[in-house]
Structure formats: structure tokens, C-alpha cells
């Protein structure tokens, strides 16, 4: 054990101070124009005044913060190393898979029980619905980024396609939610293939740039093509989904029944919210079942193989074109479903809702959760939606809190909250002997 500690490079206090000093210096340079100088209104003219006291406080805060952060990273690293040392030779106690499964079942139970427990709290049900939309989007993007390894920065485009196709089909042609569902998904998938086709040869950064552009193109078209999308004014009075024809409103249209009259209960606006919540829960669970199943099929393994090594895929006779396009199409389709639900829930959509920030948040959910991990997406989506919500009390410091939380997660878990990868199939015999086999092989 002691050998390990000695083998690690010990960071001296001087090094830490120097490191923190550099950070404080950068903070000082940035802070002079941002904090140190400010303009004051002096009776009709602007005058520059200085705030060097505040600047000094910020620089000291940066210095102290950096010291603390470094210390945290180092102690965590050392502790992890020690734990790894202690683990070698021992069989694994509780497998991470089991823990994740248990958490998953608890989360499922909680999400089913939530609207019953908070049946009169509009805010809780609304926020939980938002979380589930992001979970679904995260699961969709997970196919493209997490499994197939294709960095997509324009995922919101498919969200927009799904939302606008339902909005237009319902307001222009009177389609209902359920008829429009497959069409919206199909349209989004078509757009996924349309995007995928020209960028088959691109990888990494280049792919990210083009997908980013695609996301912006869709948004800009929606803003400018007024005849088609009503431009920046958006589309309003989008019909809400019905439960087998039962509407969730106070009074039904001619020949229709409302949910409350059918069941003989008093009308409450919460019914619709709870219905929407369960609807997105079912959609999200179907998405999860679909993606988890695909992952265990040849197509899912092909996506993962593509992420690992594209050249090797070709050498194994796999048509990488089809594999990429199928990942884009299925990811886009799931995004389209989520977008369609979003339109139906809001009743109003405009290009405002489909900015690059949305893409960035969805991508952050996938990356923070751990690429390819389904449960990680749930955790990350919950965190990323709830942190800004809890931060509401901190008003203007809300985004600061959000940023700090993201930095901390990345420091604590650089490869995402749940980065464990569960094999899609196993050789029937148990894994107990695997450790000996590995040792034998290493000799």
C-alpha cells in the first residue's frame, strides 16, 4: 500500500499555491473590465468609476476556490486509487448492475406514485412532466451520441419537427393526437435520414459543426417562413390529447364527452395535468423498453461497434452507411415523439423553444449521465431540470449554481454519473472464474 502512495506524484503546497495563483491572475485580468470598472449615471452623462474592493474580493474567491477544487480532485483521486488497490484480488461485492436496477425500480415506483401524492400541487406535476420530456429526449439522443458515437449538436431540430408537424396537422387539418403520433415520428425520422445522408463521411468535430448548423437551419426556417409556420408568433391553440376520445376540459364539444362527466366526478384542471404526466411517463417507458431492446439486437451492437471502431466494422462486412442512418433515424424519431408531446402539452409553440441551448442541455444530460447509460440519463435529466428549479430562490445566481453543479459532477465523475456498461449478452457460465482467468492470462 505504501508503495502506491509513494509512486504517486505528491503535489507540494508550493505547486498548489502557484496553480491557484495563476487562476487568480486570470480572474484579475478578466475582472478588471467586468467587475473593476463600471459606469455610473452622473446626471445625464456616464462616468467610469472603479470597484477595486469587489474585484479584490472576487480574485481572492477565485484563488481560494481553485485551492479547494484542486485539493478535492487530488484527495478523491488518491482515495479512488486506494480503493482500486484494495479491490484487486477480491471478488466484487455488490455488482453495480444490481444497484442500478434497484434504483430503477424505486424510481419507477416513485414516478407512478408522484401525481397521486401531489394530486393538488400543479407545480410538482408540471416540473415532473418537464423532467420526463428531458428523460425521453435524453434516451433518444443516447441512441445517436451514447450508442453510435455520432456527436449531434442539433438534436433539437427533430424535437422541433415533431412539435411543428403535430401543431400543423392538428390546427390545419384537424388531426387528433393519436393519429398524428406515428406521422410526426415518421417525419422526424425522415429528417434524421435527410441530415444523416450528406454527413456520412464526417466524424467528430466536423460532424458536430454540421449538426449544429442543421439545428439552426430548422429554427431559422421556422422563424422566417411565416406562411408555413406563422414565424416568430408561433402556433397557438394546439388541441390537447384525449383519452380514448374523452376530453380534459370543462365542457365537451357537440357529441363528445369530457373525462369528468364520463366518470361522474367534478371537473378539475389537475386531471389534464395528471393525464399528461402519465402520458409522457408511458411514452418514456416505451422509449426505454424500445431502446434497451434494440441495444441487445444486432442493430444496437452494430451502433456500439461503430462508436468503438468504424474501420473494424467495415472489415467485418458491416454496412456503416445503413448503421449510421438507422441511428440518426431512430434517434430523430424518438425526439419527434417528445416534440409532439411538448406541443400537445403546451398548446402553443414558437421557434423560441427550439434554440441551441435546448440541444446543449439534452447533450449535457447524455454526457453527464454517462454515454450510453439509460439510467444515467434519468439521473442527469432530473438533476439538470431540478437544479435550476431549486435555484429559483437564488434568482440571478441561478445559472451560476447550475454551472457550478455541472463542474462538480464532471470533477466527481468525469465519465458520467453511471458509466458502467452492461454487456448485451454473456456466455452462459458464471463470471466468478473470470478473475482467475485474467490473472492467468496476464502471466
Amino acid at each position: 500500500m505504501s508503495a502506491v502512495v509513494f509512486a504517486r506524484h505528491q503535489i507540494t503546497p508550493a505547486e498548489r499555491l502557484r496553480d491557484a495563483g495563476w487562476v487568480a491572475f486570470v480572474a484579475l485580468i478578466l475582472g478588471i473590465p467586468l467587475i473593476g470598472l463600471t459606469t455610473v449615471d452622473a446626471g445625464g452623462s456616464l462616468e467610469v468609476s472603479t470597484r477595486f474592493g469587489l474585484l479584490a474580493a472576487c480574485v481572492v474567491a477565485a484563488f481560494g476556490g481553485r485551492l479547494g477544487l484542486r485539493w478535492m480532485i487530488d484527495t478523491m483521486g488518491a482515495r479512488k486509487l486506494e480503493r482500486q488497490r484494495a479491490d484487486t484480488g477480491k471478488s466484487v461485492g455488490i455488482s453495480p448492475v444490481k444497484v442500478v436496477n434497484v434504483i430503477g425500480w424505486i424510481a419507477l415506483g416513485a414516478s407512478i406514485a408522484l401525481p397521486i401524492m401531489y394530486s393538488d400541487n400543479r407545480y410538482v406535476v408540471d416540473t415532473a412532466t418537464t423532467v420526463l420530456i428531458y428523460v425521453m429526449l435524453g434516451w433518444g439522443l443516447n441512441v445517436v451520441v451514447g450508442l453510435a458515437g455520432l456527436l449531434d449538436l442539433g438534436y433539437v431540430a427533430f424535437y422541433a419537427v415533431g412539435a411543428y408537424s403535430y401543431a400543423l396537422l392538428s390546427t390545419q387539418y384537424g388531426w387528433g393526437f393519436w393519429e398524428a403520433l406515428p406521422v410526426s415520428g415518421g417525419l422526424a425520422a425522415t429528417f434524421g435520414i435527410l441530415l444523416g445522408y450528406p454527413i456520412l463521411r464526417l466524424r467528430g468535430d466536423y460532424l458536430a459543426i454540421v449538426t449544429l448548423g442543421f439545428g439552426e437551419i430548422i429554427r431559422i426556417i421556422l422563424v422566417n417562413w411565416t406562411e408555413f409556420s406563422n414565424g416568430p408568433n408561433g402556433i397557438s391553440s394546439i388541441p390537447r390529447p384525449t383519452l380514448f376520445g374523452l376530453e380534459f376540459s370543462r365542457s365537451a364539444a357537440e357529441g363528445e364527452q369530457t373525462f369528468s362527466t364520463f366518470f361522474g366526478i367534478d371537473y378539475s384542471p389537475m386531471h389534464r395535468l395528471i393525464f399528461l404526466y402519465y402520458l409522457i411517463l408511458v411514452l418514456a417507458l416505451l422509449t426505454h423498453a424500445f431502446v434497451s431492446r434494440l441495444r441487445k439486437l444486432p442493430i444496437g451492437r452494430a451502433w456500439e461497434a461503430l462508436r468503438e471502431d468504424e474501420i473494424a466494422c467495415q472489415a467485418m462486412g458491416m454496412n456503416t452507411t445503413n448503421i449510421k442512418l438507422s441511428a440518426f433515424a431512430i434517434g430523430a424519431m424518438l425526439g419527434g415523439f417528445a416534440g409532439m408531446f411538448f406541443a400537445a402539452r403546451q398548446g402553443f409553440i414558437s421557434p423560441e423553444s427550439f434554440t441551441f441551448t435546448e440541444s446543449a442541455i439534452i447533450l449535457a444530460i447524455v454526457v453527464l449521465g454517462g454515454m450510453g447509460s439509460q439510467m444515467g440519463v434519468v439521473l442527469a435529466a432530473t438533476l439538470l431540470v431540478l437544479i435550476p428549479e431549486f435555484g429559483r430562490n437564488f434568482s440571478e445566481y441561478r445559472m451560476l449554481l447550475f454551472g457550478a453543479a455541472m463542474v462538480l459532477i464532471m470533477v466527481w465523475k468525469p465519465s458520467g454519473l453511471l458509466s458502467h456498461r452492461e454487456p448485451t449478452l454473456r456466455l452462459s457460465r458464471g463470471g466468478a472464474r473470470n478473475q482467475d482467468a485474467l490473472e492467468e492470462a496476464a502471466q
Binding site: 434494440l294 473494424a312 472489415a315 462486412g317
Partner: protein, 277 residues
């Protein structure tokens, strides 16, 4: 002895550099053909042309496929070379799917068969018998090769975490799962210890003797090439400089010159490739 693959006047140019120059070569069915030559001689380029990763500048590559007749490899894209012509390769710097387990690597290699059986994934999603049967067969095939290459105990480990020599074996096992008629091995013994390369010799002889798979072998480890090859072709500067049985090639003055250089012109010749054994 029938010819499986005939390379005819193959030339590959990259701008002004001629990596392969008018190379002709015959690969017999069910035999091991060794390809040797100093570093930079064009051996890997030849493999890249064969397997569709490069489009040859000129020349033809004719494969007499046992069931599909004559195929022209130079006109096929890389995945079709592996899928339709069943010419499968390994890589000089191992290319596994590192985060996937050994077993998954071997199952991915059977993608085309499984994907067809999954009927656009619909039969797969509902686990219909047609898919379950195909999956069972794929598992059985993977297990056979795992056992043959003594990898079955490592089947559920991430391939990238395993030692180098084992990764080499996994790559060969994975290529075998594609069901090749011609297996192209690019330096399979590189980085192996003497025991491992002796095992490799045994495996190669088994594959061609028992399974009837023709093997094209690029190798610097002479204890492997000279012991297993039926026929050796020596390449230098993209040209074939000698061909024949191992004994004949070993004593060929041209080959000795290519590897060790001549006394009076040791400047430009890159003799560092060196005969390892």
C-alpha cells in the same frame, strides 16, 4: 492446386509515391501464402487494396469464390469485400471494439447473418423463433472459436482491457466468425512471446489444414512465416522481388540484399526491417 485469388499487375499510387508497382501474385486455395518485405515495402497497402480500403490505381484482383464464382475485389467497397467475397482481414495495430466484451466482438462479426434474421429488428424486438434460432447459432459459432482459441474463460471481459497477445487472438477469432474463404493476417505474431507465436503457428496450420481456409500472411517474425507458409512472396519498394518455397526464398540473393543491404550501397536502403529470426 486451384488458384483462389489472382492479383494481376496491381499498382497503387499516392500522388507521386508508387506504393505498389505492377505486382502480380497468385494465392492458392487452402494454403498459407506468406508476404514478407522490409518496412515500407507495400505489404499493408496490398492488404488495403485487397480488402477494399484503397481503390487500386490500376490492375485487377480476381477471386474465385467457391460458391459465388469470380468476384472482382477492386470494384467492391470494403464492407462488401468482407460480406460478399468473404475476404476478411486483421489489422497491424489491433482494431477490436475495446469496450465491448470478447463475446460481443465475436457476435458483432456475425452482424449480417443476425441482422437478416432480425427482419429489420422486428423479429428481434419480439424475439420471434426465427431470430432466436439465428442468435443461438451465432452464439454456438462464437463459442466454438472461443474454445478453439482458448478464450472462453475471458468471454465476458471487455476486449480492450486484456493483454496484447490475447487481443491478437481475439482479432483472429473475430475474423473467423465472419466465415472467411480467405483470411488476411497483418502481422499476427507482432508482440507475441515465443510460446504464443508457437501456438499461433499451430492455429494457422489447423485453419488451413482442417478448415480449408486460405491464409495470406504478412509477418516479420521469421519463425512463423518460414515454418507455416507453403509459399512466400517477397516485396520490396512495391515490387515482387522473389517468390517460392521458404527455403528457396531464404537463399535468394535479391532477398538478402533487400533485407541486409549491400556492402557498397548502404546509404538509402532501409535495412532496418531486418530479418527477425
Amino acid at each position: 492446386m486451384s488458384t483462389l485469388l489472382s492479383v494481376c499487375e496491381l499498382t497503387m499510387r499516392f500522388g507521386g509515391l508508387t506504393a505498389i508497382d505492377q505486382l502480380s501474385l497468385e494465392v492458392p486455395a487452402g494454403k498459407i501464402t506468406g508476404i514478407i518485405g522490409p518496412n515500407g515495402a507495400g505489404k499493408t497497402t496490398l492488404f488495403n487494396c485487397l480488402t477494399g480500403f484503397y481503390k487500386p490505381t490500376t490492375g485487377t484482383l480476381r477471386l474465385n469464390h467457391p460458391t459465388r464464382g469470380e468476384l472482382r475485389l477492386e470494384s467492391l467497397s470494403s464492407h462488401r469485400v468482407a460480406r460478399d467475397a468473404q475476404v476478411v482481414r486483421t489489422f497491424q495495430n489491433i482494431r477490436l471494439f475495446p469496450k465491448m466484451t470478447v463475446l460481443e466482438n465475436l457476435i458483432v462479426a456475425q452482424h449480417n447473418v443476425l441482422q437478416r434474421a432480425s427482419k429489420f429488428s422486428i423479429a428481434g424486438i419480439f424475439a420471434l423463433p426465427v431470430y432466436r434460432k439465428a442468435e443461438g447459432e451465432a452464439m454456438a459459432r462464437a463459442e466454438t472459436w472461443l474454445r478453439r482459441l482458448k478464450l472462453e474463460r475471458l468471454a465476458d471481459h471487455a476486449a480492450g482491457d486484456l493483454p496484447y497477445g490475447i487481443q491478437r487472438r481475439i482479432e483472429i477469432a473475430r475474423a473467423l466468425c465472419v466465415n472467411p474463404v480467405l483470411l488476411c493476417l497483418d502481422e499476427p505474431a507482432a508482440g507475441l512471446n515465443p510460446r504464443e507465436s508457437a501456438e499461433l503457428n499451430e492455429l494457422l496450420l489447423y485453419l488451413c489444414g482442417e478448415m480449408g481456409i486460405a491464409i495470406l500472411l504478412i509477418e516479420h517474425d521469421m519463425s512463423v512465416v518460414m515454418n507455416v507458409s507453403d509459399h512466400i512472396c517477397v516485396i520490396n519498394y512495391g515490387r515482387k522481388i522473389a517468390e517460392g518455397s521458404p527455403e528457396k526464398v531464404q537463399n535468394d540473393p535479391q532477398v538478402i540484399k533487400a533485407y541486409l543491404g549491400e556492402d557498397d550501397e548502404d546509404d538509402a536502403d532501409d535495412a532496418s526491417g531486418g530479418i527477425a529470426a
